[in-house]
Amino acid sequence: MELASLTIDAARSAVESGRITATALAERHFEKIANADPQIGAYLTLSKERALHKAAAIDALAVKGEKLPPLAGVPIGIKDVMATAGVRTTAGSKVLGDYVPPYDCTAVARLEAAGAVVLGKLNCDEFAMGSSNENSAWKPVRNPRDLSRVPGGSSGGSAAAVAADMAVFTLGSDTGGSIRQPAAFCGVVGLMPTYGRVSRYGLIAFASSLDRIGPLTKTVKDAATVMQVIAGRDAMDSTSAEVPVPDYIADMTKPVRGLRLGVAEEYFGEGLDAEIKQAVEAAVQKLAALGCEIVPVSLPHTKYAIPTYYLIATAEASSNLARYDGVRYGYRARDGKTLSEMYRRTRDQGFGAEVKRRIMLGTYALSAGYYDAYYLKAQKARTLLAQDFEEAFKKVDAIVTPTSPTAAFKLGEKVDDPLAMYLADIYTVTADLAGIPGISIPCGETKEKLPIGLQILGKHFDEATILRVAHAFEQTAH
């Protein structure tokens, strides 16, 4: 069986019809990982035993001729920020180097209950903080399309594994663009659902008012299929919403004629690479040719998004990461003689440079005398950014933008300039701050054959419309 372009439907129907067993399909993926991943670095931990156990259970069902669940036998990978019972979960950090969770993340548990086979845990920036995957404490990930370039971040392993056919789909997490930007860099589909749409129980927290879990897939339909399984209220996550889950596949195939698509000039200005601009403008033209009405909209506070994001995300991170103190789990420095010395040395030795930088910035923004000037100011700017979208969505059903201002950059290119790295998220952070969903889909290549991503943003809980637009666009490429 050819793994390239293997979708959920193709994998499942091959297992269902008996053309391949779930066990053989998992083994084929492990072979592919053994051959390709030494060059790429997408996987941190393989969960062979768990995968083969699950695959055997699916095969037993298939032999009995029983109806198979929607993801039966589909091999997947999970970003290493999601807890997997009995399988090491590091969040890309030394501080969790030996951590073996006693429980499963809800999103992972739902995928497995639907028949998916978890192959292993995927590399990422430490605590999902980064835009290039170079902040992983273990190893960088290389872009399968060009090994001298980054795969994007922080879900770099999740995007690279899908692009290199080392999983049919993967889960990633998005706090400032961490699903969509790597999806764009690696030429795959990445969906960030609405805040509250997918349970975050078992997701290692970075910035809790922003963090979301979502799929990286080979096709838009696969993203819709995964959403059908993971979306919906979970009593274990008090921020998960009690909103009914629609039939994403049925909605996705509705015609796009007459849909109003917003184009905001703020996303096409200075800093946008000319080739990306051209590709995204061509994509907008294609959508217009499909019968969508293109409407200019204004999102005037966009230029304040990065400063707003980096104050809010770091403030929340400084609080969330206080738990890593060497007491209950994770790394402990052995040279601390007193409790407080042990805390400090554990954190000094356990965290990498970017994580320390963000903890420091966030602690500063929350400290006495600076709270109003930084943290509170950013929360108010967040309101203005959210209002921009409220106004725009009075006029349009979805908004179309580039996902990233550039294609994948070279390893090492931005590591010494944190601010330049932060600006890689300039078109993605706004949706995180406003709580709205967004998807990135491939829309062409640069002259150097690097993938370009088209971002489609939607209204709260309206993943169905952005999937519909994305699917219609995807069809034009065939």
Binding site: D98, V100, P102, Y103, G196, S209, R233, A235, M236, D237, S238, T239, S240, A241, E242, V243, K303, Y304, I306, P307, T308, Y310, L311, A322, V327, Y329, G330, R332, G336, K337, T338, L339, S340, M342, R344, R347, D348, F351, A353, R357, I359, M360, L361, T363, Y364, S367, K377, A378, Q379, K380, A381, R382, T383, L384, P418, L419, A434, G435, H460, F461
Partner: protein, 111 residues
């Protein structure tokens, strides 16, 4: 330079970090450059703008209202808990240092 060596030392203490000499020098430079950049927020008049700490701060909690319903922390109490407590051995298995009942830490009080 709005942040000084002293600020870096103070914030590191608040954050329970020690940081080497080299790290402090780099931190000073990075934080100042990032804070210079975030300064552009001061261009915004936010005197009559409400802060948004959570998505639910701004969007309806009422399911009958259009725009969806964002969840919040309150729910009916479940006396037995939403899931069983972890067994003692499991709860301690990731601890860097523990006996059969407790997490062990270095001495807290000198006598």
């Amino acid at each position: 330079m709005r942040i000084t060596d002293k600020d870096v030392a103070y914030v590191a203490e608040l954050a329970n970090l020690e940081l080497s000499e080299q790290e402090r020098t780099r931190m000073l430079q990075d934080l100042n450059s990032i804070l210079d950049y975030v300064d552009r927020l001061n261009e915004l008049d936010t005197s009559s703008v409400l802060p948004m700490a959570q998505v639910s701060d701004r969007y309806s909690l009422d399911p009958s209202e259009k725009g969806g319903r964002f969840a919040h922390a309150s729910r009916e109490d479940v006396v037995e808990g939403l899931r069983k407590s972890l067994p003692h051995t499991i709860a301690l298995q990731n601890a860097p240092d523990a006996d059969d009942k407790f997490f062990r830490v270095p001495k807290v009080i000198e006598r």
